[in-house]
């Protein structure tokens, strides 16, 4: 992989740091009037998701990271791996638990997910921003309640638990924002 000098640093560039691929979020030029120039870089570590700041001497270079994002459809899990497919090439790829992480609860069969590949292997699985899932269990709730004050917990088909309004019942399909875990509404039939 090519090396990148500080003057090539910009948002979106993927570099290696502490053996982990990272995404540059911001690069700020810092220089004392009579002194050495530095680049203060805000980066996100792609595996751990940690955001941190690093300072480089201007002109220093770091190794680039072979990272790419691809849109794949989720197929199924065999319990150990989660399998995804490229709908154009029908090529399949398997992600392990560390790549899927907490997002396992938002994986819906045939839904498109964004998979981050590092050296060809999946390191992050990002579900679509909104998914639709059936409620498998929730309390019947009170009749006549339409405002949904406070709501109630509902378990979805994948095991995810979200708060839904009292009028929503078991068996209905709801739309959820995967970034916040919030109920958005009942799915359009």
């Amino acid at each position: 992989m090519a090396n990148f000098s500080t003057n090539e640093f910009k948002a979106g560039l993927k570099i290696m740091l502490d053996g982990e691929p990272c995404n540059i979020l911001e690069n700020e030029f810092v220089k004392p009037g009579k002194g050495q120039a530095f680049s203060r870089v805000k980066i996100r570590k792609l595996i751990t998701g940690k955001v941190l700041e690093k300072t480089f001497k201007s002109g220093d270079s770091v190794e680039g990271a072979d990272v790419m994002e691809t849109e794949l459809a989720y197929l199924y899990t065999d319990g150990e791996f989660w399998h995804f497919m490229n709908n154009d090439t029908f090529e399949q790829i398997a992600a392990d638990e560390s790549a899927v992480g907490e997002n396992v609860k938002w994986l819906v069969e045939n839904d498109m997910c964004t998979i981050t590949l590092w050296n060809g292997s999946p390191i992050v699985v990002q579900p679509a921003n909104f998914v639709e899932l059936e409620i498998t269990e929730t309390d019947p709730g009170l009749k006549g309640d339409t405002a949904g004050t406070g709501g109630k917990p509902a378990t979805l088909a994948t095991g995810a638990v979200v708060r839904v309004p009292l009028f929503v019942q078991t068996g209905e399909v709801v739309r959820v924002d995967t970034r916040t875990g919030d109920y958005v509404g009942r799915a359009q039939k």
Binding site: G33, Q36, A37, F38, K57
Partner: protein
């Protein structure tokens, strides 16, 4: 079709306020009978400082078949000192200065500098005068004053003058700069790193802060202190995370100046940078005699950013470099 970007990067209302601030600055100097001067932006010479990169261009004279390399000045310092040597008395200048390889939130490769010189002042007297100017323009309280050593000790708990390279490396590693520290053999680079990243954000937040008595190794064009050979009579001013100005009790020894320029060029060669032609006009002027004086250069755009509470330099200049 080419994408055009003809609109100014600063609001017209900001440019009006900018003009008023410049007027106030000129008034400040007029009241003190300090002469406004105008020296060349293009010169046959330039700074030798390893951390400053000049723009150069070729002059084709109609009277000579040979082209000459000319440099855009990174500050008007050399020419203003020649005026002082020629007997100008106190002088100031507001001019464009140019620095290659500098662009960012607080940097534009072309910027406005206010530089002034006060014969018979030392750096403390000049700091006092500058404090008055800052209060006038920024409506701020009077400034704090710290030595470089005090600033370092207060925020990094180590003595920057006495500490060895290894001790400074350890501090830099503690503060999360291992990548730079482990491969750095120049103590000053690490001091600059720690100062800009750790000290600067913690000083001069409520009121401006003058930091003076820099390490002698960072003297630039300042006199070495007669009381302490480890420090130079150089100061900087910081306010709200912005470095505003750099001043010196000016070095007036021609031989020492020549030696510092040569030493700069040696460092440049070690870095793989080209040597710069030493300004022999400045050396000759110093030989004929520079009146004892202090001088300071202040970034006017940054002063205006602070006065108008703007976050980025392009908000206070008509066209930042991408639109220029």
């Amino acid at each position: 079709m080419t994408v055009t970007n003809w609109q100014p990067s600063a609001a017209i209302s900001t440019l009006k306020k900018r003009a008023q601030i410049l007027q106030k600055i000129r008034q400040f100097f007029a009241e003190r009978q300090i002469l406004e001067v105008d020296t060349p932006a293009l010169s046959h010479h330039t700074v030798t400082d390893e951390h400053l990169h000049s723009f150069s261009t070729l002059f084709q004279s109609p009277l000579s078949p040979k082209t000459q390399t000319l440099y855009l000045q990174t500050s008007p310092e050399f020419a203003m000192k020649r005026l002082l040597c020629a007997g100008s008395g106190a002088i100031y200048q507001i001019c464009k200065s140019f620095r290659n390889e500098e662009a960012g939130r607080n940097h534009n490769p072309e910027f406005t500098m206010l530089e002034w010189y006060r014969p018979d002042f030392d750096h403390h007297q000049l700091m006092a005068e500058m404090d008055e100017l800052l209060q006038l323009i920024l409506n701020c309280e009077n400034a704090d004053k710290l030595t470089y050593q005090q600033a370092f000790e207060q925020h990094l708990f180590c003595n920057p003058i006495k500490a060895s390279l290894d001790e400074i490396k350890t501090v830099a590693i503690q503060y999360g700069f291992a990548e730079i520290a482990e491969n750095e053999h120049n103590k000053d680079i690490l001091l600059m790193l720690l100062f800009s990243q750790i000290v600067e954000p913690n000083i001069g937040q409520k009121r401006p802060c003058f930091v003076y008595d820099f390490p002698a190794s960072q003297a630039a064009l300042a006199k070495i202190s007669p009381q302490d050979p480890n420090v130079a009579e150089r100061f900087e001013v910081y306010f709200k995370g912005i470095e505003l100005a750099n001043g010196f009790h000016e070095l007036d020894d021609a031989d020492e100046q020549q030696a510092r320029f040569e030493n700069d060029n040696m460092k440049r060669q070690q870095q793989g940078l080209a040597s710069m032609p030493i300004d022999q006009n400045l050396i000759s002027a110093l030989q004929s005699g520079l009146p004892a004086c202090a001088g300071v250069a202040l970034g006017v755009d940054r002063l205006i950013m602070l006065a108008l509470e703007c976050e980025r330099i392009e908000q206070v200049i008509a066209f930042e470099h991408n639109r220029a």
